[in-house]
Symmetry: D2
Subunit: 140 residues, 4 copies
C-alpha cells in the first residue's frame, strides 16, 4: 500500500512516562511508543467530539512503524504531534514524539475504515466525508 500524503495541520497530545512503561535497560520499552501514538490519535478524535469506538465503524490497523532516535525515561514529559493523510478507505497518521526540544521518535499508523456485515465480518468501506471534515477541524 503506498503511503498517503500527510496534510499540514497538526494536533498535540502530552503525557508523562509511567514507571511500568520502562524496562530493565532503564528506558521506555519500544512497544510503548505505539501506545503513545494511539493515545494521541484517540485524543485527536475526542478533541472534535468523536470516538474510534463511537459508532458502527471499526478501524483496524494495517501498518505501524516507529523510528527511535533518543531514549525516553521515567517521568519524562512528552509531546506527541499528530498529522494525518486521508485516503478513500484509510487514514494514515504521522507522529513525532518529543521530550522538550529533543525528538525521541517518529512514526506512523495506518487504519482502514470498516463496518461489520451481516455475517459479522469486517468489510472495508469508504470513509464518511463528514468524519474527515470533523477530524480536519482538530488538525490546524
Amino acid at each position: 500500500m503506498k503511503p498517503l500524503t500527510l496534510e499540514p495541520g497538526e494536533f498535540t497530545y502530552t503525557r508523562s512516562v509511567q514507571f511500568a512503561e520502562t524496562d530493565l535497560a532503564g528506558i521506555v520499552h519500544f512497544s510503548a511508543y505505539f501506545r503513545y501514538m494511539e493515545e494521541a490519535e484517540h485524543a485527536l478524535w475526542r478533541a472534535v467530539g468523536l470516538s474510534v469506538a463511537g459508532d458502527r465503524l471499526h478501524w483496524p490497523r494495517v501498518a505501524a512503524y516507529c523510528d527511535y532516535t533518543n531514549p525516553l525515561r521515567f517521568e519524562d514529559e512528552i509531546t506527541v504531534k499528530v498529522r494525518a493523510g486521508f485516503g478513500r478507505r484509510r487514514i494514515q497518521y504521522g507522529f513525532e514524539i518529543r521530550r522538550a526540544d529533543t525528538v525521541a521518535a517518529t512514526g506512523a499508523i495506518t487504519s482502514v475504515c470498516t463496518r461489520a456485515n451481516a455475517a459479522g465480518t469486517l468489510e472495508s468501506i469508504e470513509i464518511p466525508q463528514e468524519l474527515v471534515a470533523r477530524l480536519r477541524g482538530a488538525l490546524r
Copy 2:
C-alpha cells in the same frame, strides 16, 4: 465477601519471564504477576477443553491480591500452581508462583459467574455444576 476454601487439587502452568515485563528496577513489574495468574487460570480451563470466552457466560473479577516474597527477573523460568474454591456464584483461585524452589509470590483472584440479560447488563447466576465438575478434572 468471605474467602472460599480452596480444594486440595492443583494445576501447574509454566512460562518464562519476558523482557517487556521488567521495569527500570531490573525486576518484573508487580502488575505482571496478575497476568501470570490469569494465564495460569486460562490454561487450566483449556486443559479440560473449556474457555473463559467460550460460551454465553462472562467471568468479571471482583477481587485480586498478590503477596510478593522474592523478585523475578528477565528469563526466569516460573511455575504457577493453581488451586480453586467453588462458591454458588463465584470461583476463587489461589496461586503460588515459584522460580525453581523459591516462592516468588502467592495470590488469589475471585471471579463471578455472570450472563448478559436482555438489556445487555451482566447479571450474576449460579455456576453450572457441569462446569465445576470439568474444572475439578484439571485439579488433581
Copy 3:
C-alpha cells in the same frame, strides 16, 4: 504483615481510560487497575518534588490488592484518591478509583523502603523521616 492505619489526608490523580487497557470483554482489564494505582502514587511523590526513582532508595512492593465494584470502559474519566499509612520500614497506600460518583474499585499497595548494600542486594531500612514529612505535605 499487619495492615497499617491510613492517615486522613488524601491526594487526587485523574486520567482517562486508554484503548489498550480494555480487553475482549469490552471493559478495562483487571491488571490495569494496579497501574492506575501506581500512577497515582508516583504523581503524589512528584507533587512534593520527589521521585520513587530519585535517590539511592528502592521501594519494592510486598503486597497489592484490588476489590472491583463497577467496570471501567474506554474513555471513562477516572479519579484515583490516594491515602497513606507510614510504618517504620514500609508505606501502605490505600486507593479509591471513581468514575464520576461511582466507585469502580478500592485497593492497596504496600512498599518496603530498601537500599542496595555493598553486594548489590536490597536491604530494608527505616524510612527517612524527612521523606515521610514531605509526602504528608501532599496528603491533605
Copy 4:
C-alpha cells in the same frame, strides 16, 4: 538507514494469545505484535545460550514496523518465524506471524550494538563476530 538483507535461515517461536493482549474490538491489540516479535528474538538468542541482557552490550531498537494482514484472537496458537540480517553495528530481524496457515502479520525490528562508555552513555560499537556466528547457529 538502509534495510539489511535477511539471510535465508530461520528460527521458529510459538506461543498462544493471552486474554490481556486483546482489546474491546475483540482482537489482539496492534502493539502486542511487537512484543511477540521481541519474544521470538529473545528465544532465538536463548536457543544458542545467549541473552540480550547477558553481558556488557546493550541493544537499543532504532526501528520497528509491522504490517497487519489478519486479526489474531484470544487463545489462537501462533508461530513467529524469525530471520536476521547482520550489519557492522546493527542487526535487523524480520518476522512472520502465522496462525496455522494464515499469515497474520509481517514485521521487522532493527537493533544497534552498543556499550556504555566511562560516562555511562551508550556508544555504538561493532558487533563481535563470535556473537554473529553463534546467532547464525540458531538460524537454519
